[in-house]
Symmetry: C2
């Protein structure tokens, strides 16, 4: 294994930077990675445009790493908008001294997530800062996509049902456990995954019946549902007994004092859909790679606009307020 | 003056983050800043897509700050591709403890540079990391633009002349002087400026006579010309006596041991144009806000492909090789 490290000169705009880009990025992201400062693309009509920075600590965790996260996060934001991804950009802030093999491993993982999502990384940037000015590696990805059917957080209506493609809380708990060196009987893996395919399947099956979508990342399920409830001016009720939470995640949350409803996911999508379309959408999700465990978890009510409540196993209700403070820093 | 500081909770994805976005960003970037994770835009035909991270130290320097730099850098990359900017994204990595008023000042400056360039910041992201994990503030901007006339670094031809819109080396020396606490008789100001207007004027005046463009940022004039010489498979000769270098920049470079030909610019554009179009392009540049001092600095020869030489005041020639090491870290 090589112990080569990133040097300040790798960020110089000169020969060494260009060699680094060829060796690490062009070799993995493919021949369409632009040699100019921008890349040319063709896009007819409406396009979606999104960006996210990734600062996750540690860089590598069970089920993923910062690179897979950066690609999936942006692909999923485009998917949430009802767009088919066209292209991604990737901008790196590297600390001097970073192991080159760690950068290569991250780039491998970005390339493989991009291939899976059917998208290419076409432009980028690399800055190197002295050790101490940044913690190893930050990645910012931006994406553009062709809008197939515009979906926002504002379209949910009373009578809709709330669907999700699987268990919640896995990503946040996987990262925290790795960072804190906690070990559980079962390794908890991040759910980090590109959901462009799943969303297209759901949109094809549900058509106009898909009223709102959102990927419940930072702030978890409750924060995303609060945003939708506010934007759509509806009340949303979750059914506690239907919430898919893996037992090891539930135990870890209890031990660490986290509420899994607020823990970040990176491979989940919420669909708020017309009741009559729900079964065919669920069936389509279950046929898709990341949707085998898709379930109904709640419904949209004509109640106080902007509220999210939990109907507990006992039949009582409690309000699920949006997150105010910071639950877990550097989870994505 | 308020001493409010950024908290980890400002990056939580919850209530505090949403308040920060409203107060700092939406108030300045305008009503089109998306509330969803991506924004919808309309773009017919060919589009240019670019991204850059900014890690400049210090955050504020004579003639600009990290915010103006982040907007201008991306606007200029789009302009270089012959594209009219459509929209920008801005993603922030903030260190806990950053003064909120510094963030507001940077956002003000981004808004004003964007207004000047006739573009809006339409989507973004905010991450907060614990103090020590990042140095105050990093910004990554991405941009998309509608391609009016595709121009790359590959179009230069023997017989072309090389034009630039003004003096070189100002940005790098302004930042280094501020960082190192150096003072000179005259304050050296960064040339940081959005060049979308200037480029459109030059393209309108020069039409098909504009063969290649590039903004000589990191690595300076020589690195950009080496890239063009390599991509276009031509030789480029600079004329030393024509190079516009302000006397205080020349003195500072001599004192600090820098070659101004390799020092970063942030408000300059190189045009490689057909000789017969040069005068009308120069005239158009000189009428534009950031082109009053536009001059011819060299020519393209049918010499050894990929080389850049300097014809000195004495009539001798020397090769100007691309930058290998790092001249100045954290200059942009």
């Amino acid at each position: 294994m090589s112990d080569e490290r990133i040097l300040l000169a790798h960020g110089s705009g000169g020969q060494l930077m260009s060699e680094l880009i060829d060796r690490v990025f062009r070799a993995r992201f493919g021949p369409h990675l632009s040699r100019d400062d921008s890349t040319l693309l063709s896009a007819g009509g409406a396009i979606a445009f999104t960006t996210d920075s990734f600062v996750v600590d540690p860089l590598f965790f069970p089920g993923g790493d910062i690179g897979r996260l950066a690609v999936c996060g942006t692909v999923n934001d485009l998917a949430t908008a009802g767009a088919v991804p066209i292209a991604l950009s990737a901008s790196f802030i590297l600390a001097e001294g970073l192991l080159l093999r760690d950068l290569e491993r991250v780039a491998d993982s970005m390339a493989s997530a991009a291939t899976e999502a059917g998208i290419e990384i076409v432009t980028g940037d690399t800055k190197v800062v002295p050790a101490g000015a940044a913690d190893r590696m930050f990645i910012t990805t931006s994406g553009i996509g062709r809008v197939v059917r515009p979906v926002s957080g504002a379209g949910a209506r009373p009578g809709d049902v709330v669907l999700i493609n699987g268990s919640i809380g896995d990503h946040g708990i996987a990262v925290i456990s790795q960072r804190e060196g906690l070990s559980f009987e079962t390794t908890i893996e991040s759910d980090c995954a590109p959901l462009a395919g799943l969303v297209q399947e759901a949109l094809n099956a549900g058509g106009e019946g898909v009223h709102a979508m959102r990927d419940p990342t930072r702030g978890g399920l409750v924060s995303s549902l609060n945003e939708i409830a506010a934007q759509s001016r509806v009340a949303i009720e979750l059914n506690e007994v239907s919430l898919p939470i893996r037992p090891p995640v539930a135990s870890a949350c209890e031990m660490l004092g986290f509420d899994p409803l607020y823990v970040a996911n990176e491979g989940k999508m919420l669909f708020l859909v017309a009741a009559e379309a729900a079964e065919s959408i669920l069936a389509a999700m279950r046929r898709s790679r990341y949707g085998a465990e898709a379930v109904t978890i709640g419904r949209v009510l004509d109640g106080p606009a902007g509220t999210v409540t939990l109907r507990t196993a006992l039949g009582t209700h409690r309000f699920l307020d949006p997150l105010v403070g910071e639950l877990m820093p550097r989870i994505c």
